[in-house]
């Protein structure tokens, strides 16, 4: 894959010098800070609502570190995944429409290297941002609550990350396949909701990556679970989708 190193260096510099450094990392750090605080304040907020309605009594157990982690994972499962879909929709189609891909691809940069670099650079950004967000969440949680169950949060985040990397590969495929960023984003949202829907079906959740989102939540409630099928199929699917994206982009005329 000629040109791989030079293009990866460009991608990483671009992340550092443009809006890309702020969106996903910013979201993760924000949720890392706010999740424990929201968890701590939620009972007080609910009680204040209850006092405004005479006769209504709400019993809420005191918040714990686990509530903070659940709040953080919920944000990852919803908002961060949607942000990955939206930002990933333009990774290839954006370069195509702006003409930057033409200048790069008429040099000794293979289209396969172009696609792989896109997947790899986004994955690197996500891994670093997730590690940072998780560390912030753990630190703030330790201040607000007694530090407990950190290993479970790390496990849950790691499982989420496997699914998120698959989503990055899927979005790169859609971005290579569709002419417009909007169409790629639409297809990505369709994929996201479809996996949520199919993940509710027991056999699919047990034997495929579709069960990863559910597994993430189970990890937080300290349920031990076999994860071999989910992880293996996610890794294989990521590879297959990346190769498919390379094939589609190879055939596409620019």
């Amino acid at each position: 894959m000629t040109g791989f190193g030079a293009f990866l260096r460009k991608e990483l510099t671009e992340i550092r010098r443009t809006w890309r450094i702020w969106v996903i990392p910013g979201m993760l750090v924000f949720f890392g800070v706010t999740s424990p605080i929201i968890a701590a304040l939620t009972p007080a907020l609910v009680r204040s609502m209850a006092t405004s309605q005479p006769g209504l009594v709400i019993q809420i157990p005191p918040p714990t570190a686990r509530d903070a982690y659940v709040q953080f994972i919920k944000s990852l499962d919803q908002l961060v995944l949607i942000a990955i879909i939206i930002t990933g929709a333009g990774v290839v189609s954006g370069e195509r429409s702006s003409g930057t891909a033409i200048l790069a691809l008429t040099k000794p940069l293979s289209r396969g290297a172009f696609v792989v670099t896109k997947v790899l650079s986004q994955t690197m950004l996500l891994v670093v941002a997730t590690a940072l967000g998780t560390a912030v969440c753990l630190a703030v949680t330790a201040v607000v609550f007694d530090a407990a169950g950190a290993a479970h949060l790390v496990t849950a985040v790691a499982l989420w990350l496997v699914y998120a990397v698959l989503l990055i590969a899927v979005m790169t495929l859609f971005s290579a396949a569709f002419q417009s960023r909007g169409a790629a984003a639409g297809a990505g949202l369709g994929f996201y909701f479809l996996t949520l829907l199919l993940g509710a079906w027991g056999p699919a959740a047990r034997y495929s990556f579709l069960g990863l989102v559910l597994a993430t939540q189970k990890a937080l409630v300290f349920e031990s679970q076999p994860l071999g099928w989910q992880l293996a199929t996610a890794v294989v699917a990521t590879g297959v989708v990346t190769v498919a994206a390379m094939g589609i982009f190879e055939r596409r005329e620019l």
């Binding site: 000629t2 003409g99 005329e253 620019l254």
Partner: protein
């Protein structure tokens, strides 16, 4: 100048090259040979097929039929070999706006695997050539002319054997256009330059040879001098004594098999002919038969514009105007 040659490998060789988009035939069995070292103009109206041909040559699109070779290599098979030896500038170059000109040239050079010392020297020289050496702002703030000059510089970073430019001056103001043409002219003798344009003056100014593309077909390909001389041989100016005989002479000539067109203006007749020798015999005879005296009979001087208009049918055709 653009004929087949067996003693040296052609910089570009197209054989029966066709490209179809649905019902539209963008290129129709194009045959073209560009000799190495030439500054070659690829002239045609907007929509004639120039960009499609360049996209195939640069590996961005595939032909429907036929072959395209660059420096002896099939562009479909030897993609890496071809890309390593060409420089390409599309009609609207897209740069990363967050980079500086120097950073972009370094990025382009790294894609070619050029070592750092060579890259540093080449980047500095190319920035000088492009008039961007003192510019430290990011490309996002560049004018169209600056981007075009940077575009040529990035296309030269690998010291290419063939530089392909797609409409490099089409959207520039007169000063930007002059700067780009001067850059192109300065490359004469150092590399083969193949550039598409619909601006006749640009071709006349910097090109050694030209091919004219019309509706996807090459309608002429030769050195500029040869092409204008060839066309001139088919255009005659005849002046006679007195205005009264002009109509009689024109009427006498109309309908002759060798006559393509005839215009009258006062005492002058302008004729386009298909058989010069026959015309040279029959026109004086027709003038004598009409009983008028011949004052001037000469082959008309022809510009590239005349050749172009004659070949593609004038600016009112299917494409955009030719400047």
């Amino acid at each position: 100048m653009t004929d087949d040659r067996s003693d040296e490998t052609a910089a570009i060789e197209l054989r029966g090259l066709s490209k179809r988009f649905g019902d539209t035939l963008a290129l129709d069995r194009v045959d073209l040979v560009v000799r190495p070292g030439a500054v070659f103009g690829f002239l045609g109206r907007n929509g004639a097929g120039k960009t499609t041909a360049l996209r195939i040559l640069s590996g961005l699109a595939r032909p429907t039929a036929g072959t395209a070779h660059i420096l002896g290599h099939d562009v479909e098979r030897a993609t890496d070999t071809v890309r390593a030896r060409i420089g390409f500038l599309p009609d609207v170059p897209g740069f990363y706006p967050w980079m500086t000109a120097r950073e972009y040239l370094e990025f382009a050079g790294r894609l070619f695997g050029i070592d750092q010392a060579t890259l540093d020297a080449r980047t500095t020289a190319l920035l000088e050539m492009a008039g961007l050496a003192s510019v430290t702002t990011r490309i996002g703030g560049f004018s169209r002319g600056m981007k075009q000059r940077l575009g040529i510089a990035q296309a030269l970073i690998n010291a290419p054997s063939l530089l392909m430019l797609d409409e490099p001056t089409s959207a520039l103001d007169p000063i930007g256009r002059r700067e780009v043409l001067e850059m192109v002219a300065s490359l004469r003798g150092r590399t083969t330059v193949f550039f598409s344009t619909h601006i006749l003056a640009d071709v006349e100014r910097v090109c050694d040879a030209v091919a004219i593309l019309e509706r996807g077909r090459v309608v002429a390909s030769a050195g500029i001098g040869e092409l204008t001389a060839r066309a001139a041989a088919n255009r005659l100016v005849v002046e006679i004594e007195g205005e009264t005989g002009v109509v009689a002479v024109a009427d006498a000539l109309r309908g002759r098999s060798w006559l393509k067109s005839i215009e009258t203006d006062g005492r002058t007749l302008r004729l386009a002919v298909s058989d010069l020798a026959t015309a040279q015999r029959e026109i004086p005879a027709a003038i004598a038969a009409a009983g008028v005296a011949l004052r001037r009979f000469e082959i008309e001087e022809t510009s590239l514009e005349d050749v172009f208009v004659e070949l593609v049918g004038g600016p009112g055709g299917s494409g955009g105007p030719v400047q």
